[in-house]
Symmetry: C2
Subunit: 667 residues, 2 copies
């Protein structure tokens, strides 16, 4: 059908502030759809809106418009920590109220916020007679991409987490994908689909129905429905980021934050962005173990060694995994033995906390639930209280499941017993709520959360700025034992997919370049660049202290690089190929650059125009050495220094699987 | 076969100065091949080298290496005019001498020059006993692209010229392509194949033989062979440009110039880069005619009007097509009536030249051959002498053929008669030589040549800097009457294909946006941007004076924009999607920016770091107006002004089919 014909049915329209994007709502024989135009050309074709509700007619027919209202905003707000200190929220908004013209006459609003580089929309169900709650069997929201496109994606619904290698396929060959899903049209438009503010709702997957048309597939609840909510309520925002380049796509991710509610915690000055070391890589190398015994990593003596190392090099945190009872048996899929308030016999947590404090170091807590989540919830409050008392102000949580799903006790059984449990999806409504219960509990004790095997990030760090980081993708440990391991393109894929959603605790810096009987597919310089490229306010210095001793030259950069930024620029990049970031330290006038490549070497021209004009900087360059190659010559590395200004253009040579890191010291 | 195995046969190797590219020569059972690695990874797989010679064995077996020699260069040379005043030639070179180990024992060298962003190689046949000449039936040079890739290309061999819409297809679906052919691998590498210094040889097409493997297909000579040469001789350079981005690919085109011989003409200060107007667009609109009669465009009165218009607005040249006898009959495919030394009865060339001179204006000559090339050659010397006498120091030549081929007289017939003629290809050895004969004849009279329906550009402007521009692709006239017309993506396609080879006389600036009963698929602002985007040292102001009078605001930019540059930067772009150029005026401190898009609108962030740091500039911005769209609202246009420095970042909004032009006036 020609575009012009469809327009005839448009009932509401909203343009972005710069008139770049237009969102139109359309009623056709009582069915509701939206479409997105950019500079007057279709980007998202007519896509249905609606629901299938339990015990009632589908809510998608016989709809009529009641009224519309528009609004606009142009505000700048400050992040307590982040990639940028200030975020601008510049959008126009449309509220369109709809009702069913036939019984049961239900009502809902569609609210759209449109920015120049993307949009979010959500459904809002107002209070209304005859409808106290909604049991949602399906959300019928569609996303139909107009132009032929390529997608970068991981499958959803087949397993519990997000730890897959990103696939690149024609968009029309995606099956069911997690969000963010990143799309590049043949015309060079970059689009990402995701959601913002996932609160008391099920996570959304994208199921392809035909061609390039996708439908929201909500993660199921154990009860069989997808979501159960009392009215009034609203859904999370469904977001579409739209940009002309990979770099601009990354930068458009601000809209996810803008669509979340402001900070509910007040001053979170008690959270300090920082680097950390810990008993971790050795566990993945299997030279130490989580379990007690002669290989136990979390011993008092070993931890003192890490505290000393951290203090010596200015790292704030020391993570210790395996510090608590529960690891000795078959914990995998059986988290009921985990105790989060007691340490193992050989880990003197009181003495270590005091020793750490004497050196300005903080232990980082570790709460592996093995997915016995109700069991964890029973202990959470006490555990965070203990953490706070011991100066443990960041906790890494874990949700490693056996059968693949979160365990939820539903019979009110005892705190110690297993009770009757049901299985929930990581992305389900119940687990979405669990994470917020944990984050809120932690906040009460001024503890920050870094969740592994988490629910995906939907920008809730704005509202709960103690939810500082998470995993949610294949991390560095796959380099240790993954089969397949992480290939050289993995981190570049992450930047333009997973990282669009928020910080990731990737745990970089393995300068030994060696896992458990397999090489990490990287050059040395690339490990340094990852500190700039993969943002997290808690950034691990993941290798063993003895390995860093062998690479003092390179290690200098890891000592220097901050974990908190006042400004971030993506200078250049292509999805899955390469990316170059520049970030400004939040506590000095120094800038840092990180550039990484996939399995191909790159020659990149980088104008230093991000530097302050007229100022001189010393560029401390950590680069791939001549002939460096992730496979053949990964340790080839050079450090050099030159004076630069904003008028200079640097040529970066990245080896195959390589990278480059630069500190610009301001004079 | 694994890569490592092939390496065992490598007989010679040369790395680029920055160790980015490696070219290896390989002998396998007496057969010669080359390959190209980048950062240690294959870009061009093993590709054969050799010839099929008439009356002798193929020259591709039983080969052995005699010796190798290497060389290197790092020199900077100055262009008399161009996109950049200075060009750096930084390469390493390898000469590998081969001979046949069996009879007839022929010898040849392969010479490779490798830059960080590409390479050229050629065959050199030294003097040798038993071989006085070579009749080349086929050149067997191959080009095999390693990674899956997309190609932008036009077909070769089916028609005589280059005036096709560029196709985008998988590389493995190309049939036979003209060069430059541009390729982007799925890994984001940009590659262009072309040739440099096409002198006394046949032009090379690229014929796909299997998968992503291509073989040189030389344009045939009328005699049946491809090339006939006496020894010693060498072939043109076969070039491969390799870069990480579309922008870097464009900038790598310098290697084509670097592979050409230095200026043979000495001081060419007599050529002045400039804009020109003329009796031209009216001919394509069919409101005036080339033929004499009541619609004749090239009348004395009409030309005086154009001279006045040029003088008033500071344009140096006035082109007049249809000024000479030969147009009144059926000239198409019959150029024997053309007289290049006499004007039509209603065109007082002497008086007009004097009138022009009195106003500082120069007529621009027009020599349409209709492909009767020998007929043209008979008159060339006299014609250029007349041009020179009348101040006509630029001549536009034309080679519009009927049956599609150049006519060459071979029986020594009279200058006026047709004689016995054979047909040659535009790309054939004879016509390649014709163009140089014309350029050299013109140079003797200090006349510059702007060839239409030319042979392709291979960088010979370095050696013959009076060969200032040419057509060689679909120009603006297809907007007037083309079926199909030029679509909005056409000029962006040109930038990353045709324009890699050198200047093009595209004849932009049709501010009326209207052809002969059809709209030009462009916005108003885009027409301005083309003056910066599509480089030519002779740049037409192509619309009618009365049309410019209706668009004074926009016309200001056309008045201001120079035709000669000291520096050129491609700031951003994607093949076929969009591109942004910044160029610095050669005669002032002003910079100019041009950005164009395809049928999609774009939002582009442009750091102004190319400006001189610390200096203030007034940015005179000519942009698409709100809601502009090539189809629906092409005249929406805004002019605005702001003060900027190199530290600013501009956001360019380009409409669908739109563009933006900016002059940065230095303070």
């Amino acid at each position: 059908m020609p575009w012009a014909d469809l327009r005839a049915e448009t009932v509401a329209r909203i343009e972005s502030p710069g008139k770049v994007l237009t969102v139109e709502l359309d009623l056709s024989e009582g069915r509701l759809a939206y479409r997105v135009l950019r500079f007057g050309e279709p980007v998202i074709d007519d896509s249905r809106l609606g629901f299938r509700l339990r015990g009632a007619e589908k809510l998608e027919r016989n709809l009529a418009l009641l009224s519309t209202a528009t609004d606009s905003a142009d505000a700048t707000w400050e992040q307590p920590w982040g990639e940028n200190r200030f975020v601008r929220d510049h959008h126009n908004a449309l509220r369109a109220r709809f009702h069913e013209t036939a019984a049961p006459g239900r009502r809902f609003d569609v609210v759209v916020r449109v920015f120049d580089d993307g949009l979010g929309f959500r459904y809002e169900f107002p209070e209304q007679s005859g409808m106290d709650e909604a049991i949602i069997d399906d959300e019928l929201t569609e996303f139909a991409v107009h132009d032929p496109a390529t997608a970068w994606w991981i499958p959803a619904g087949e397993w519990n987490r997000y730890e897959y290698l990103y696939q690149r396929t024609p968009l029309a060959q995606v099956t069911q994908a997690h969000t963010p899903m990143t799309v590049r049209t043949d015309n060079g438009l970059h689009i990402a689909f995701h959601e913002a503010a996932l609160v008391d709702y099920a996570g959304m997957w994208l199921r392809r129905t035909e061609g390039q048309r996708f439908r929201a597939q909500l993660a199921p609840a154990s009860e069989g429905w997808k979501v159960r909510r009392s009215l009034p309520f609203h859904t999370p925002w469904r977001t579409v980021q739209i940009a002309d380049s990979a770099a601009a796509l990354y930068e458009s991710s601000d809209l996810t934050l803008n669509l979340n509610e402001p900070n509910k915690l007040g001053d979170v000055g008690w959270f300090t962005p920082a680097k950390y070391v810990g008993v971790w890589w050795s566990l993945h190398l299997d030279t130490e173990t989580w379990a007690t015994g002669k290989k136990h990593g979390a011993t008092t003596a070993n931890t003192r060694r890490y505290i000393d190392f951290a203090a010596e090099h200015g790292f704030r945190g020391v993570l210790v995994e395996g510090w608590n009872p529960g690891w000795d048996g078959n914990w995998f899929g059986n988290g009921y033995d985990f105790d989060f308030t007691r340490a193992t016999y050989d880990f003197d947590i009181e003495a270590l906390s005091a020793y750490a404090a004497s050196k300005g170091v903080h232990l980082i807590g570790h709460h592996e639930t093995a997915c016995a989540v109700s069991h964890y919830e029973d202990q959470m409050e006490d555990a965070f209280a203990m953490n706070a008392r011991l100066g443990i102000d960041v906790v890494k949580t874990g949700y490693v499941c056996d059968a693949g799903q979160i365990e939820r006790r539903i019979d009110g059984g005892s705190a110690s017993g297993k009770g009757r449990v049901v299985r929930e999806w990581h992305d389900g409504q119940w687990n979405a709520n669990h994470h917020l219960r944990a984050v809120e509990a932690a906040a009460r004790h001024r503890v920050a959360i870094n969740a592994h095997e988490p629910i995906k990030d939907t920008g809730l760090r704005r509202t709960y700025p103690n939810w500082v980081s998470r995993e949610g993708a294949r991390g560095m440990e796959y380099g240790a034992w993954g089969n397949p391991t992480n290939p050289p393109e993995h981190e570049v894929n992450l930047v333009f997919t997973r990282m669009l959603s928020g910080p990731m605790d990737y745990t970089p810096g393995i300068l030994s370049l060696q896992g458990r009987g397999q090489a990490i597919q990287t050059t040395l310089a690339k490990q340094l660049a990852l500190y700039v490229v993969l943002y997290s306010p808690v950034q691990m210095v993941a290798d063993l202290p003895e390995h860093y001793a062998e690479h003092r030259d390179a290690f200098q950069f890891i000592e220097d690089v901050p974990a908190d930024w006042s400004e971030t620029r993506v200078l250049d990049g292509e999805v899955g190929d390469f990316v170059t970031f520049a970030r400004k330290d939040r506590h000095s006038e120094d800038w840092y650059l990180g550039s990484i490549s996939d399995e191909h070497g790159r020659l990149l021209e980088v104008p230093l125009s991000f530097l302050q004009p007229g100022r001189r900087y010393t560029a401390q360059i950590y680069r791939d050495g001549d002939g460096a190659h992730w496979r053949d010559k990964p340790f080839a590395f050079a450090r050099e220094q030159r004076e630069v200004t904003s008028a200079d253009v640097l040529t970066l040579k990245l080896a195959a699987g390589g990278g480059q890191a630069i500190r610009f010291v301001a004079h």
